[in-house]
Symmetry: C2
Amino acid sequence: MSLGAEPTGEATGKGLSKKRDPERTRKRILKAAKVEFAKYGLGGARVDRVAARSKANKRMIYHYFGSKEQLFQAVVEEAYLSIRVAEQKLNLDEVEPEEAIRQLVVFTWRYYLKHPEFLTLVNSENLHRGRHLKKSARVKEVHSDYVEMVRGILKRGERSGVFRRGVDPIQFNITVAAIGYYYLTNRFTSSIIYDLDMVAADALDRRLAFNLDTIMRLLKPDSR
Amino acid sequence: MSLGAEPTGEATGKGLSKKRDPERTRKRILKAAKVEFAKYGLGGARVDRVAARSKANKRMIYHYFGSKEQLFQAVVEEAYLSIRVAEQKLNLDEVEPEEAIRQLVVFTWRYYLKHPEFLTLVNSENLHRGRHLKKSARVKEVHSDYVEMVRGILKRGERSGVFRRGVDPIQFNITVAAIGYYYLTNRFTSSIIYDLDMVAADALDRRLAFNLDTIMRLLKPDSR
DNA sequence: GATATAACCATCTAGTTAGTGAATTGTCGA
DNA sequence: TCGACAATTCACTAACTAGATGGTTATATC
C-alpha cells in the first residue's frame, strides 16, 4: 500500500475514518437530496431529512448549497447532465440508421426505468416553470450534441432510403421521449384507471415493443 | 318572481346576498384548491392560501373536506371526472373511423391546452403514487367507457380496411395522450434545452400536426 | 316562533420549518 | 510549529403550518 504521498484520502477512505473529505460530503448531500426531492417534490421535501439521510449536518447543506432552492437546482442540473452523459456513450454514428433508432428508443426506455427519480425531478422542475434549470449554462451545450446526433441518423436514413424525408428531429426526439416517459410517470394513475399492472415485466415488454413499432412506422417511407 | 315555495335559494342567489349557500361555498373552495394544488403541488400548497383565494374561512375547508389530503383527493377526483365528461361529449360512434381518431387527437391536445392544471395535478398525484385516486370508485367506471369507445373506432376502421389489425386500444390511448401531454408538461425544461419557444402559436400548431401524423401512421395498414 | 341543525367566522396552538450564530476541530502551507 | 482558513458541529430562532376551538348567525321544521 502506502507510497505515502497520496494526498486525497480516497484510497484509504473506508469505514471509521473521521477524516475530512469535502468533496465526498458534498456528493453525499447531493445524492440524499436527489432521493428526497424525487420522492416529495420541491415543496414537500424537508431539508432536515436530507441532512439525516446524508448523515451530514444541516449546516453543511447551507454551507455547500446556500438554500433549499439552490440545492434543488444542483440536483436538477445534475440529473440532466447525467442523462446526457449516458446518451453520449451511445455512439450511434457508426450504426446503421434503423438499428440506431431502435437503440435510441430502447436506451431512452431503459434509462427511465433505471432512473425513475429523473422523471419526477423533471416533473417537479416543470411544475416550477423551469426556473432552476434556466440558471444552468452547461446543460444547454451538452444537449445540442444530442439533437445533432439524431439529426445525423435521420439524414443517413433518408439518404439510404430507409426513412422518409422531412421528419423534424426535435419533434421526433420529443416523441421518442414522450411515449416512454408518459407511460412510466403516470403509471400509478393509469394502473388505477385501466385496472392493469403497468409495471409487470410483460407489460413493460409490451410497451417497449409498441413504442418501437410506433417510432419505426413514423419513419417508414410512404409506400407508392 | 315569488311563487313562494321555492326551497333552494339558487334561483335568486346573485350578487350581494350574504345568504348561505353551502353548495357554492364548497365549489368555491374546490376551485381555489385546484388552482393552489396545480401551482404548488401537494407539498407546496398552503391551506391558508386556499382559504384566502376562495374567500372562505379555513374552518369551512376542514368542515367540507376534513384535511388537506382529502381536499387534494377531491380536487384530483374532480379533475379526472371533468376530462371524462368532456370526452363523453365527443360522441364519435357516428363519425367515420379516420375522422374520429383525428378528432380524438385534436380533442386531447386542446383539452390539455385549455386545462393546464389537469397536467400538473396528474403529475402530483403520480408523485404520490396514486394513493388519493385509488380511493375513488367513480373514476374507474367512467373511464372504461372511453376505452370501449376507442376500441369501437379501431374495430370499425379495421373492418373497413382503413386501419391495420391488432392495435391495442389501451396502448393506443396511452400513446395519444403521451405525445401531447409530454410536450406540454415539460414545455419549460424543453424550451430551455432546445432553445425554442414551445408555446408560440405556430409551434403548437406544428406539434399538433406532427402528432396527428404520428397517430395516423401508427394505424395505417401495412402496404403489400 | 321556538328549537335544532348546519353554515360560517376570528383566533389560537402545538409542532415544524428553513435558515443562522458562534464555537470547535482538522488540514495545509509557510 | 504555527497560523489561517475551511470543514464540521450543535444549539437556536423567527416564521410558518395544519388543524382545533368556541362561539355566532342563518335556515328549516315543527
